[in-house]
Amino acid sequence: MRVLHVLESLTAGGMETTFLNVLRAARAIDTSIEHHVLAFASGRLESPFRDVAGRLTIAANDATFDACVRDGYSAIHILFDRTAYRLIPRIVARSSTPVVYAKGYDMAGTYRLNEGLDWQADESLLAAVDGATFTTAALAEGYSLPAGRTTVLRKAADIQPFLALPLPDAHTGMRIVCVANLHPLKRLGDLIGAFAQAITQVPDADLRLVGGGNDRERERLAQVAADLGVASRVSFAGAVRDVAAEVAQARVVTLPSSTEGVSTALIEGMAAGRPIVATRVGHLHTIVDEGVEGFFVEVGDVRTMADRIVRLLRDAPLAAEMGQAGRRRAARHDVADVARDVVSALRSAVH
């Protein structure tokens, strides 16, 4: 069986990184499947994808994709709404190769859940493919999907490196970590504001922002930190390969975004046994219960965010209790389990 997985790009976004981990696990689970990957733009993940995929094609245009399809795959697995919108009509008009559409927290999915955006084309694509997978049960809610063609997954994360981390102890610094791309949607300025308030009560605290992205946003955030007088206590790690090493230095993991699906960064933080402070957006409530694995705050509520951070930095037993709860819960998201379900969905579509 040969499967062509199609992505829009190989940038280090949440969905691409998760899929890379799933693919790695899928290869180990079922060696009889040959996995090829096609993307329309390269990115930081090109090298790891090259290691994992039997063949990696960076397509210059849709004609390259058409040529790939003519190679005779057992199934074509499409990730991302944009890719599906453009390519699924091309495939179904000319070929009978089974198509599986992986519905994740792409723009259409995220905007649907956060803002009720109802994009008919996406629903029609799901109706016209041989199989559909949904990243979470919550995401699948509201779509009209026939039984037998739909596989509901769980958000996958490569949690093993995080499970291996020791829990925070007396030697762990008062560090707050946020793993997120530098993008206005992440509202990292709110977090810096909250940190500036928190540091008045926990003077040895520091804030570490882990993630690449936009230089202009980085400059803006550095300016926010400077304006609030905390520039020396806010550091930017940039895009790093070893996120676990960054989380290892944290006491609290935060996420102040205005929109999210289910955050891989939070699952990893939970696997590391760190308590969470996050905004109540998207489907984050499906991985964190208020007061159990961490705290929720409303978007832009800087004061409450500061209050919750301070509470967790000062109350080590509470932080440890939440961290342990998070670690237990994160175990449900092991990438190997999810990869097994993805392989099963692909096989079902073929047979």
Partner: protein
């Protein structure tokens, strides 16, 4: 200024070059333009698809075209790397050149104390438009609020225009577009007689490594350079080369002509009631087709479930035949905002696919019937 066939092609109203010729006549570059449309834009720019029905509640009270820019110089400002290297120079020469940009461009300009003459709001898909509106919620300054003139196509989400004063807002009509906003901005400037048009921050990759994702736009800019009677200068020196665009310095865009505020030839826009009535009329006209699409969808869904059904190839032929009637085609594309059936009219469907024909049938009729239902809901809601 700009041949009529340019907008006609971008409207997606024609399925063949013969249809196009019959409507707009012949032209030296018509054949090349059609080839570009067919090969690089898949013969479907989607410029008139409004699947979310934003036009029904668009806040504009005016449509129109820009007043003459005869003899003026216009910079089309994007947010590629070359723009950032030249912001200081642009600040110094701002009074001597027109600046057209997008909302994202306006955001960058605002951060550097520059107000453009015109912000053009145009998106390729409904998701792009929603994303742009969503983005405004997280930015510190709404760049649209400061723009003296905002040209927002009918498909623009109302939320994106919330900060725009009504007297500064208009719907460009006709909109000379194939979809990508930089080309539209160039076409608008050329249409009104600009003597020189410059690109800044429309890099589309680098000289050494043009970004293949932007090949269609690069080619479209090349076509425009051939069509328009003005000088075309690419001021983003390190960006990908665009055929027909001379690489030049930003200084070459300075004009000695004093610039008055940009104005438009204003016409009243159809009222919300008029738009709703027009949508209802379209929906009524399409009723027989919508009813038939429901039957065909039902058949496709039964085939999907593995049941024995009638001839799928006949059904596929029938939905393809709807594109043969120009009026029906336009109603389905522009009235219901159909993307999939519209594409199948261009690509065809392989009728030898056998049982797998359920997929294109379900894809197109599912969208058609879903959009018809949506239009019913939207017209009721908009009327309320």
């Amino acid at each position: 200024m700009l041949p009529a066939f340019f907008s006609a092609i971008g409207s997606d109203r024609f399925l063949s070059i013969d249809e196009l010729r019959a409507a707009v006549g012949d032209h030296t570059h018509l054949s090349d333009a059609w080839s570009l449309y067919r090969d690089s834009f898949d013969g479907f720019c989607e410029t008139r698809l409004d699947p979310q029905g934003h036009h029904l509640v668009h806040p504009a009270r005016a449509t129109g075209t820009l007043e003459s820019l005869r003899g003026e110089h216009v910079i089309v400002f994007g947010i590629g790397p070359s723009a950032f290297a030249s912001l200081g120079a642009l600040v110094r020469m701002r009074e001597r050149v027109r600046v057209f940009t997008s909302p994202r461009g306006a955001e960058v300009l605002a951060a550097n104390g520059i107000t453009p003459d015109l912000v053009l709001v145009e998106h390729r898909t409904a998701i792009d438009a929603h994303h742009a509106a969503r983005h405004l919620r997280d930015v510190v300054v709404d760049p649209m609020r400061m723009a003296p003139l905002v040209a927002a196509e009918w498909r623009t989400p109302r939320a994106l225009l919330a900060g725009v004063a009504i007297d500064r807002l208009f719907v460009p009509d006709p909109l000379p577009t194939w979809g990508p906003w930089p080309a539209t901005a160039v076409a608008m400037a050329a249409q009104t007689g600009a003597a020189r048009i410059g690109l800044l921050g429309i890099d589309l990759g680098t000289v050494q490594q043009p970004d293949p994702a932007f090949t269609p736009l690069t080619q479209l800019l090349g076509l425009l350079a051939r069509l328009v009677p003005c000088e075309t200068i690419d001021c983003g020196g390190d960006g990908a080369r665009k055929p027909g665009w001379t690489v030049g310095s930003l200084d070459s865009m300075v004009s000695d002509k004093a610039l008055a505020p940009l104005t438009i030839q204003r016409r009243p826009a159809p009222s919300v009631d008029e738009r709703i009535n027009a949508a209802r009329e379209t929906r009524d006209r399409l009723s027989p087709i919508v009813d038939r699409a429901h039957q065909i969808l039902e058949m496709g869904l039964r085939a999907r479930a593995g049941q024995r059904v009638g001839r799928l190839d006949d059904a596929a032929n029938e939905i393809l035949s709807w594109g043969g009637d120009v009026d029906v085609r336009i109603d389905l594309q522009e009235g219901l905002g159909l993307s999939f059936l519209s594409r199948f009219w261009r690509t065809g469907i392989d009728l030898e696919l056998g049982a797998a024909l359920w997929r294109p049938i379900v894809l197109s009729t599912h969208e058609l019937t879903g959009q018809a239902d949506r239009l019913d809901r939207l017209t009721k809601r908009a009327a309320a």
